[in-house]
């Protein structure tokens, strides 16, 4: 028995090609039936996400199956549009383990793919399309991904400015539920960051913008409250996280304005996320007790550090994966001739 993989991903095809291959949930059963009709193919799992569409099959004659699979996919997507990559075992096994571990993802080490693989496997299993070999393969892939995530730093740190801001907020406050956020200047990045914080449970978002209508609109969208820009200091008392992104040519949040406000906070920490260029918050605010100021450069630096840490872990992850591939291939050899 051989494990055969064919597919396209963000690595070899742009989105306008990938979307032609995508298999939606409503099409899954039909597509599985179609490829299970291929002679010599014993079982299949279809993984279809925004970044990849892959077919994992169990077969005794991989070359013939790959040819037929290619034909089926060309029919579906249109001839001449098939930049498929294909692997048979052990390369296909290694590929799945790398995918499950986030090593083949657009953002190295991302973890969403593991959930998507589990869904794909459960769906195929639910339609009776999996075999003993595929069951074993996917169960092993989930184990490998878990081990790689827990024993290396491949998932460490956040990889976008908004995610870093949310992570840092967690490192300052712990649980974010019940925290209060103020946005000074309703820019795109500040809006995304605020939305991320809202998704983590912050209680109140106060939006202050030079154009009050825009503040009111954003506040309405994220369930917050708009205040006039000139009155932001009056609404500041309960604020834990301040996101600044105005177009002002000089700092708005100055030591002179902030120190009297801090005196009324009973020592609660204040996290300032300054996304503006030129900066809205005076750099010296970071020297104040209980104030943690991050500007756009420092956030981007953390993103780069996180990615560097993840890249440095790839070799260790590959070593773990190689070991599991070896184990799986040994299992395959010893269980090759038993009936499925």
């Amino acid at each position: 028995m051989n494990i055969v993989c064919a597919g396209i991903s963000h690595r070899n095809a742009p989105v306008d090609i990938r979307e032609k291959f995508a298999v939606g949930p409503h099409e899954l059963e039909g597509m599985l039936k179609r490829i299970l009709g291929i002679d010599g193919l014993a079982g299949a799992v279809i993984v279809s996400t925004c970044n990849r569409v892959e077919y994992y099959t169990a077969s005794v004659c991989p070359i013939r199956v790959l040819d037929r699979l290619q034909e089926v996919l060309e029919l579906r997507a249109g001839a001449g549009l098939t930049p498929l990559y294909t692997h048979d075992s052990p390369a296909s096994v290694r590929h799945l383990f790398r995918v499950a571990s986030g090593l083949d993802s657009m953002v190295l080490g991302e973890t969403e793919i593991l959930g998507q693989l589990k869904q794909a496997y459960q769906a195929a299993s639910g339609y009776g399309a999996t075999t003993r070999h595929l069951n074993k393969l996917f169960q092993r892939a989930f184990r490998v991904a878990k081990q790689v995530r827990s024993e290396t730093s491949i998932t460490r740190g956040a990889t976008s400015v908004g995610a870093v801001a949310v992570e840092l907020a967690g490192k300052i406050f712990g649980d974010l539920s019940g925290r209060h956020v103020m946005i000074l200047g309703a820019g795109d990045t500040s809006e995304r960051t605020a939305r991320s914080l809202v998704s983590r449970g912050v209680r109140t978002v106060i939006v202050a913008n030079r154009t009050f209508d825009r503040a009111a609109r954003l506040a309405g969208e994220i369930g917050g409250m708009a205040v006039h820009f000139d009155h932001w200091q009056n609404a500041f008392e309960g604020v834990d996280i301040l996101i600044c992104s105005t177009a002002a040519p000089h700092p708005i949040v100055t030591r002179e304005k902030l120190e009297p406000l801090l005196a009324r906070r009973d020592g609660r920490p204040l996290f300032i996320i300054d996304l503006a260029v030129p900066r809205d918050a005076e750099p010296s605010l970071n020297e104040l007790e209980n104030v943690y100021l991050y500007d756009i450069d420092s956030l981007e630096q953390i993103v780069r550090q996180s990615l560097d840490v993840r890249r440095a872990e790839v070799v260790r992850c590959e070593q773990m994966i190689d070991s599991h591939v070896g184990d799986f291939m040994t299992w395959m050899r010893t269980h090759n001739d038993r009936p499925v």
């Binding site: 300052i172 712990g174 953390i302």
Partner: protein, 261 residues
Amino acid sequence: MDGLLLAGATFFLLVSFGYTLFTLGAGKFRPGTVNLTAILGGFVLLTVDLWMRGQAQGACPINSLFDVLVFMSWSILLIYLLVGPAYHLSLLGAFTSPLVFLILLIAQLGPVGPSASGRFVRDPWIEMHASLTLIAYGAFALAAVAGLMYWTQDRQLKARKAGALLYQLPPITDLGVANARLLWLGFFLLSAGFAAGFISGMQVNSSKFAASVAIWAIYGVILVLRRAHRLPPRRTAAASMLAFAVILVTLPVIQYLSSPK
């Protein structure tokens, strides 16, 4: 047997300390089962050691500086095991093990050994006074450790660099809360210990009394200022480290003044 148990406990804590150093050096620190298992192992061995010496002496084994250091090490581990998991402070163990390792090492390498076996005639109130005071010192030790962690996390956040510790240390707000609660716990136990001492009516050397009251007052002032928001969390953390340093310096003096001449 006593020596073996203590050596075993010290070894367990050395393993925890060494593991922390090694993994931190590799930038891959993850507190977890290794630290907790080592601390649990050390705690069990210390408990058995104290129980055996307590049986031999017919009293709580806190009659020499050696005894006091061992009992305090046991108290620190006890408070950690009680408090650490409640606050999800697994890393507190990693910071605690080097401190306890050092105290045990000093106890074993120091000039004073365990008090001689034999039946000590002791007032139970005096025993309660001594043991509660040492358990309070255990809580203060952990408050100092939580303070050190607070300082470390504060420095990481202020430096705006994503070091390995930033991700492993608990949120700074939680560390501030744990620091303050451990100070309160220690202060409560110390006050109870003092009350037991007063009830016993024991005769106390004036220097020992002054040193003990000074320690009680230092922690009292820290807590009052903290409660009144006059001492921000970072300074409370620093104060808890300094105050524990005072305990470590005065402990041998107090023990010397308390020992029968």
